[in-house]
Amino acid sequence: MAKALYIDYQKCTGCRLCELVCAVKHDGISNPTRSRIKVMKWEAEGLYIPMSCQQCQDAPCLNVCPVKAISRDEELGRVVVDYDVCIGCRSCVAVCPFGAMNFNVIDKKVIKCDLCDGDPQCVRFCDVNALEFVSPDEISIGKKRDAAGRLSKAGREAGVLLAEL
């Protein structure tokens, strides 16, 4: 099964290394504004959420594209832009619910996360493993394990409380 980019934002420290790495990998320039991934920050709460393309199954960008330049690549589980067909109308930028489509005004083309053809560099460079490239069932199993852990912990605490009574 195709792997997916799993963002565990609770681990993110907001160092924005992923943004730099992404820009360097794709454009050869270490300029975070040209990155496909973007870390949204809430400094007051200490909350950092990296936002990237969700590779939607029924992608709005794919549906809205007037020249059918955007297609789904099932092998890698991603939505890709064919730059030979793309005319740069920016409909996809206007429709993306996550704001993950960006328009690069220097190269005059739309940019989106392409999962680095199956080897995401942001994952490679993320020190705290906030970004992971895993198969989707692993994500849900991890979440189930966490939830089960919380339940059992709550159960244990409840047991302690009951014993105290």
Binding site: G88, C89, S91, A94, G99, N102
Partner: protein, 335 residues
């Protein structure tokens, strides 16, 4: 007849002189503006040369969109160009003149057929404009006039060569003069004939993909205030029809325009269209032209469409923040 001899003699010379000067001026203006306007500074020389080459090999990129119409258009223009120059009658006139130039001429049957093709196609283009509703709405009177100006010398020439109308006394005297006058009109019109990209107001979404596809930088768009304006510089255009081919809405058209004013305005940028830009409801940044958003609203109608890319990311983050168990624990701790 005084008028007849004037048209044949001095006026014809003036027209030919004006034509030569006009063509030279236009070539000079064209090349300078092409060099000046060609995109990408580093690649200026090759880019400019590529564009110049594309003028001499007039292959329209828009041919695949309407193959039949494009083929007819090519045939029409080919005949329009070939017949007046290589017609046997015209060549013999050059030989008789004081210049004594002569060159190969077309066989009479060929030129007859080509003339008929021009007339037939001209009629077809006019009828097409009248009959098809979409074309009729987009047509101005100038479009008909241009076709008629191009066809008139051929019509009068055909009658002149075959003497069809000699039975009518009015035509038997005047047909020669009429042919020359219409020919002169056509030659003069050629100097002031420009191409111009037109964007259909009803269908154009203002996405500016035509601007991106334009190889010479003829089409430009500028966002100022709440309006995106499109500019067109007529001397720079190589009539490659990239804009017509690119347009996803089939709103762009490349059409003829006869204008005395444009001839002198070498570097002028015409304003050809302006669209309103939509601004983000949260931060006020302009992010999409209004017609494009209207089009998107037909398939998607969500609240997030009113936000710009950055604010969408933020609102998504806000949502994640709300549901995050970590945030809830933080909140309960502070409370």
């Amino acid at each position: 007849m005084y008028f007849g001899s004037f048209v044949e003699g001095p006026l014809l010379k003036v027209v030919f002189l004006a034509f030569c000067i006009g063509i030279i001026v236009r070539i000079v203006f064209f090349i300078t503006s092409l060099v000046k306007g060609s995109r990408s500074v580093e690649k200026k020389v090759p880019y400019f040369l590529i564009n110049l080459m594309r003028v001499f090999i007039p292959f329209h990129s828009a041919v695949p969109k309407k193959p039949l119409y494009a083929t007819l258009r090519y045939i029409f223009h080919f005949c329009l160009f070939v017949v007046p120059i290589w017609l046997a009658g015209h060549v013999s006139l050059w030989e008789e003149s004081s210049l004594e130039w002569h060159w190969v001429s077309l066989p009479d049957e060929w030129s007859d057929w080509m003339t008929l093709i021009v007339l037939g196609l001209a009629l077809f283009f006019i009828v097409r404009r009248v009959v098809i509703k979409k074309n009729r709405q987009n047509t101005s009177i100038a479009d008909y006039v241009i076709i008629i100006i191009a066809a008139l010398p051929f019509l009068s020439g055909y009658f002149l060569a075959h003497g069809t109308l000699d039975g009518i006394s009015f035509f038997s005297d005047k047909i020669w003069t009429m042919h020359i006058v219409s020919g002169e009109l056509m030659i003069v019109a050629t100097i002031f004939l420009f191409c111009r990209t037109r964007m259909n107001i009803r269908t154009c979404t203002g996405c500016a993909s035509c601007v991106l596809s334009c190889p010479t930088g003829t089409l430009e768009s500028k966002d100022s205030g709440h309006v995106r304006t499109f500019y067109y510089s007529h001397y720079q255009c190589i009539c490659c029809a990239s804009c017509v081919f690119t347009c996803p809405e089939n709103a762009a058209e490349l059409r003829h325009e006869i204008s005395l004013k444009r001839f002198a305005q070498a570097m002028k940028k015409q304003e050809i269209r302006s669209v309103e830009m939509e601004s983000c409801q949260k931060c006020g940044a302009l992010y999409v032209p209004e017609p494009l958003m209207d089009k998107i609203h037909k398939t998607y109608a969500h609240e997030y469409l009113g936000l710009c890319s950055n604010c969408r990311k933020e609102s998504r983050g806000d949502y994640l923040k709300k549901i995050s168990p970590w945030h809830r624990t933080l909140k309960s701790q502070s409370a």
